[in-house]
Amino acid sequence: MRRWSTDRILGWAAADFVVLVFALFPVLWIVMLSFKSPATVTDGSFIPNEWSTENYSSIFNGNSPFLDALRNSFGIAAIATVIAVVLASMAAYAIARLNFPGKAIMLGAALMIAMFPPISIVGPLYNMWRNLGLYDTWPGLIIPYLTFALPLAIYTLTAFFREIPWELEQAAQVDGATPFQAFRKIIVPLAAPGVATTAILVFIFCWNDFVFAVSLTSTSAAQTVPAALSQFTGVSQFTAPYGSIAAAAVIVTIPIIILVLFFQRRIVAGLTAGAVKG
């Protein structure tokens, strides 16, 4: 092993430190803001002069639209994720494993949709959903999320499935396993990490959406957190909603931080597999 000079160690330590500050400082600021008492929320200090959890109790109080929005966000993102991953697994399995004409077109079309500007379909969807009664409902958001989640999921899963040594399945069959046993015992465990990774990416994607949420919902029946955040009003009309916005922003960030901390490697693998190897 080469010996590291003090300069190099200090240089990399400084680089690491800059990255940490760059990535975490805005998050830290929102956390600080969320703990300011309503009286000091606009005082311009970074660290609260008066610590308070009042912003949190205000967004979790019964009348606040935030709880509904949180429930909608979780429900809609989870359902969309499950459906997208199931449908995309089927398609990706076919693309990675089977030989059939049209699979190159399939991948090309998925890529085109992934590049697609969401605003281009918001107008027609708004009109269609109002006629079909899907405006401001869960399915009214789940369905558009699927179209954008599916290409992402198909790309990522295809990249993962191509890495699976499918020959193992046949080897197991030669050794006497039934086709179903071979698939379940050999392939499923090999595919599971890729599927989990894809599910995380799709969930983050749906959790993050704003364009559809703000266009296709209007009430607490289906409004998700990002849309609700943009329409927050204060506890009373005389208080600025900044504290509540900050508190809600912290809450909606926590699930993502948990996912990132637990599945960091997977997320990196998924992002690069989908985008570069695809």
């Binding site: 805005p26 399995y93 590049m115 708004y126 266009s215 960091q264």
Partner: protein
Amino acid sequence: MSTNVPTQTGAIAEAPQRGLGRRGRKPISDRAKAERKLGWMLCAPAVVVMIAVTAYPIGYSFYLSLLRADLRFPDQREFIGLDNYVTVLTSSLWWSDFAHTMIIMVISVSIELVLGMLLALIMHRALFGRGLVRTVSLIPYGIVTVVAAYAFLLAFSTPSGGFIPHWLGIEHDLVDQGHPVTSFLVVILAEVWKTTPFMALLLLAGLALVPDELLEAARVDGATAWQRFWRITVPLMKPAILVALLFRTLDAFRIFDSAYIIGQNGTNPKIETVSILGYNQLLNRLNLGLGSAVSVLIFICVMIIALIFIKGLGTSRPGEG
């Protein structure tokens, strides 16, 4: 052991199947037929959903863009050809919004490329803390864009008690029409903060393709770090760089969330991008005809950007690079 297990990548998907193909084109066996059918069946649900919610609305959008279709005046609905496009393309609003979008796109993607490359090099080469840096830099990627936009808006805006004007001793609001330059900077900053990690990860995947021996050989030959970076690393990474730029440029052109949150703030707000223009026409003014024309134009712009990049990518199409 059968050689019929397709493990090929998309690039050679059209090549004749190994094994069967080598013996020339035989009439399709039952097995291959069954395989085809299964392949189509497995893809069908995903295709149906994507067509129903993407292709159909896009077609419908195109159709609406040829109509006078204002939800407030349903009786006046009629076919007017390309009039909506003429209206949009001759309005100063479209062009100023287009300029806003391009400014945000070009500046933020350029900064992201430089910062992303630095970040990727840190993740790739750092003596220590690589895992930590990777984990931490994923946090901005995961943060809801609206939250990121609020973090920057509330930090820079005076009425909300932002700490930055406070620290700089500035009285006026930095995120207001009175100061469009700083407002733009805040939008760009939010965008850069949120998406640089994504850029860095794509570039990191490209860096992994550069063989260490080559860099070592160049070092032995006396090339400086700077020369090695520009003469070896960058050329070998070119496909990865182009893919990363393509993804980010398309994404930045569609910018909505942060411009909407930051640009709507203040006493006389306005950082309107083309996506926000489309949104306002469609959902605030309920003018489906004009709004759809804007949507179709955005779609065309995205296609043009994609084509330019794919041409730049040469023979390797994105996703196969």
